[in-house]
Amino acid sequence: MRKAQGSWEKRILKSLNSMCTELSIPLARKRPVGEQKELLNKWNEMGTDEPDLSLFRPVYAPKDFLEVLINLRNPNYENGDSLSFRTHLGLIQVPLKVKDIPELKEFFVELGLTTGQLGIDDSTQVPPELFENEHVRIGQKVLAEQDSAAAQQYVRQGSPTALRAELWALILNISSQPEDILYYEQLKTNVIQHDLLVDSLIYKDVKLTASNDDYYFVFEDYLYQVLLCFSRDTSVLGHFAYSSASPPKSYIRGKLGLEEYAVFYPPNGVIPFHGFSMYVAPLCFLYHEPSKLYQIFREMYVRFFFRLHSISSHPSGIVSLCLLFETLLQTYLPQLFYHLREIGAQPLRISFKWMVRAFSGYLATDQLLLLWDRILGYNTLEILAGKILAAAVFAFRAVNLMEVTSLAAAEAVLADLSTLKVMPLLQIFLFATVT
């Protein structure tokens, strides 16, 4: 795994460097004072007046990453003698241990059919006295007590919209202390003083994704404010201690290979890819104060999101998620799986992009937030990409999918997820499917 991650990183860095030389733009440069002043003035509206980005391309897109994952093989693994029925027909060929449905049911017990859920039991047909009112009351108590563990347990059943922002902050241990605000301001100053190549990548990404999104276009300027600061935040480097990834290094001009002159580039070690800004976008619905928004995003990134784009064997890592997805689908919807495979539409190809983005930009925002409630509550990403939801979506549209005859058509059936209701899907798939 580490080797694969290592070579993937080399590739990304090479691509970045070549873009750099192609466009003859330095990776980093100090801004002249005039430019600094100008940027400070339009700090709140960076969305307008953008630089010419036509020559920039995102360093990589999710589908490139998928290709790498597909080609992962474990050289040590002995497949054993017999070709059992469970020979894996999916794209991921790495034998990692993933949970199966009985284990999932146990793990996600609070999502069961008999437990009240927000996202199901607060719909208009259900009287609020049944579940919602009580749930809200409990939520308010949890907040009053400032109990982080209780909050985490609580959001497993969904968080009421009015309490969500505070609950998430509680779970992530974010409180806006003056030091935090100061830290953010410091990052902002860094942005003003230095211009990084990565900034252009961020601009391009926002313009390509969030600016065109019906829900998030309003928050375009916040996205710049958060992401530009994020790429200069060296505290993010801390997460590499528990990630299989390592931050790319760059060398001061002329001193290639000399370790004393190596710096991490970008300063936070994370090179954004196509769609990266969508990790931040949904949070804008909850926090409108930039430094708080920033802190929440950073914490979410170092706890969860980084696993979605690095190669590791962690159960929440993207490889395991993909495997979980494929296994679930193959086991419980074998006909569908086989059919799609036959027509050249491997299910993972379609659902991969959903998982990498944690469904941001694919689901309606209120549903997405309900989903992320559960991620925080269970402290795992398995619910997403997973695999479970992705599998549930496929199951839901199975009838239509059985009829398609091409990858393009399959994509079309699954193209628009914005009308889906997350929780009922999850419940049905996990708890109501006959196994």
Binding site: E45, T48, T161, A162, S211, N212, D213, D214, L286
Partner: protein, 385 residues
């Protein structure tokens, strides 16, 4: 039918009579509500009447401002009220005012002023022609500009809500659940140097779509549900619900204000486009009502919305897709409402009395106005359906 055609259909000269199986989509004198000056006139008259009756709705606070009926920004007719306006202007000379031609739409002819000299033209006219009847085409209204609009992502926006009225007496109106917010493409600033920049101040799509940053995919539009989600998440549920309740309230009050003067022709129904602005204290203001809201679409989502709007409107106005009969009782069954929900039904409200416990959940009927319910048997009933 367009408004021009309606004018001729109902005009005395043509002698045209609608037969029983003909239904039209405008009321003959809709302009009582949809012309900016007449709307304000009618609302002012309505308030005075309530005050005279001693109705609790007309209650005022210690500054003389109406507690429940202050939903239209201070407005004067020009040139008629010029002197009154000047008096008001001098009270707060740093205020900004917005000049709007009475009979135009799509943001045409609107501009902002903050100095008396900018409207000298109307002062001269008023001095010289107090008895000459003004040509209505030249009439303007001048309103106090709401310079503290609620901003999201730093941008000003307004709400466009669709309201269908099938009859005015008894008042029966429906609110379309899928309204939307129209955002400006440029960041808002109250700075005086940008008073001329219409991209900052006017949210009409007709104007914004000429801006540099106009995006054809989302068209600068948000659904009302998004707005609700955002406000609930960042401001809390109570204030958000209160805001939406107030919006419903002002729509109904505006309809009640014009109901007595409306020609309640049984051949008519009308779908209005209400424009509402929310200020940064979460107070909604009624800006204007449009008789012919744009039914063209600027984005894909828009097209779906407008298609459904027309579909649902016609289902309510002409049920079952049968040949209409204007004598029917105008009470459509619940199933045909589609995306509409009953905003106010005078008959039902009067029949039920005040003690009905109704749920106040969005997406269903709109909640009871417990605090404002005055049910002493008056005709002005404020319980909600």
């Amino acid at each position: 039918m367009s408004v021009q055609t309606i004018r001729s259909v109902f005009s005395v000269e043509t002698g045209y009579r609608l037969s029983d199986d003909q239904i039209v989509n405008h009321f003959p004198n809709h302009y009582e509500l949809t012309r900016k000056d007449l709307m304000v006139k009618n609302i002012k008259r309505y308030r005075k009447e309530l005050e005279k009756e001693g109705s609790p709705l007309a209650e005022k606070d210690e500054n003389g401002k109406y507690l429940y009926l202050d939903f239209v920004p201070v407005t004067y007719m020009l040139p008629a009220d010029y002197n009154l306006f000047v008096e008001e202007f001098r009270k707060s000379p740093s205020s900004t005012w917005i000049m709007k031609p009475c009979g135009k739409a799509q943001g045409k002819g609107i501009f902002l002023i903050n100095k008396l000299s900018q409207i000298k033209k109307w002062s001269r006219d008023s001095k010289t022609s107090s008895f000459v009847s003004q040509s209505t085409k030249e009439a303007y209204v001048i309103s106090l500009y709401i310079n503290n609009p609620l901003l999201i992502g730093g941008r000003k926006f307004d709400l466009r809500l669709y309201v269908l009225v099938s009859t005015y007496r008894p008042l029966r109106c429906y609110m379309y659940k899928l309204g939307f917010c129209r955002f400006c493409t440029v960041k808002y600033t109250p700075s005086t140097s940008e008073l001329d920049n219409m991209f900052v101040h006017l949210t009409n799509v007709a104007i914004q779509k000429h801006g540099e940053d106009y995006n054809h995919i989302h068209g600068g539009k948000w659904t009302v549900n998004n707005l609700r989600l955002y406000l609930e998440s960042t401001r809390g549920k109570e204030v958000t619900s209160k805001l939406f309740d107030e919006i419903h309230w002002i729509i109904v009050q505006s309809l009640k204000a014009v109901a007595p003067v409306m020609n309640n022709d049984k051949h008519c129904f009308e779908c209005y486009g209400y424009d509402i602005i929310i200020d940064d204290r979460l107070k909604p203001w009624l800006i204007e009502v449009n008789a012919s809201p744009s039914l063209t679409s600027s984005t894909a989502n828009d097209r779906i919305l407008k298609y459904n709007l027309i579909n649902d409107t016609l289902n309510i106005a002409v049920p079952n897709g049968e040949i209409p009969d204007c004598k029917w009782n105008k009470s459509p069954p619940k199933e045909v409402l589609g995306n509409y929900e009953i905003l106010y039904d005078e008959e039902l409200a009067q029949g039920d009395g005040a003690d009905r416990e109704l749920r106040s959940r969005p997406g269903q009927s709109l909640g009871p106005r417990g605090g404002r319910s005055r049910d002493s048997g008056r005709t002005v009933l404020t319980t909600w359906k």
